[in-house]
Symmetry: C2
Subunit: 117 residues, 2 copies
């Protein structure tokens, strides 16, 4: 809900209740989340972690990025709670946090695979 007063805009005979449009705040949160999924290297990292728990260095090798770049991206993924980690000695093992990412992947795949009309 966006506004306290129930403003409307006239459209096609009926009014559009502006209050049902996503609020700026909610839209912002959605955008931040999906924005994290808007980078190809983060998808490659996530897909690698979908196979098994991996250390930062292994990840870097697997997705062919520098350790620093991977580490930076892992921080972003951590912030959105898409991955979790555990430390063991000097290593840090990362893994997927839950399987929402699988559902999002599937849903997007379906959309992208749809015929062009």
């Amino acid at each position: 809900m966006s506004n306290s007063e129930d403003k409307t805009v006239q459209a096609i005979g009926v009014d559009v209740p502006v209050s049902q449009i996503l609020s700026v705040e909610k839209a912002q949160r959605m955008a931040e989340f999906f924005g994290v999924l808007g980078d190809p290297n983060r998808w490659r990292i996530l897909s690698a972690l979908a196979l098994k728990e991996l250390r930062v260095g292994e990840l870097a090798e697997a997705v062919d990025m520098s350790e620093s770049a991977v580490s930076h991206q892992l921080r972003v993924l951590r912030t959105m709670r898409l991955v979790s980690y555990r430390k063991q000695g000097r290593s840090v093992y990362y893994c997927l946090k839950d399987d929402h990412i699988f559902n999002l992947y599937q849903e997007a795949s379906e959309h992208l695979d749809e015929p062009d009309d």
Copy 2:
């Protein structure tokens, strides 16, 4: 599938089949799609269109953006086939193309609403 040769990286005793990591091309397509959902104003536009078919001008008023900005964003949404449109006189009516967007919204909401562990 990423590489023709089935390269692996050693990890945790077992090997990680690099060939199962999302290819750069597939990752790129995923990122492009989700990147479109990585903007708050596009979410507001989509949520407005979820209520009913709207003209560009009505959309602009509803989401409080300039017509030009809305038009630019609608082109992006059209490119990703998230919206479709029909012309009627000088007006152009836009609507949501399918309901994948609803599922994505729901899935993301669930993720964002999860407790912090």
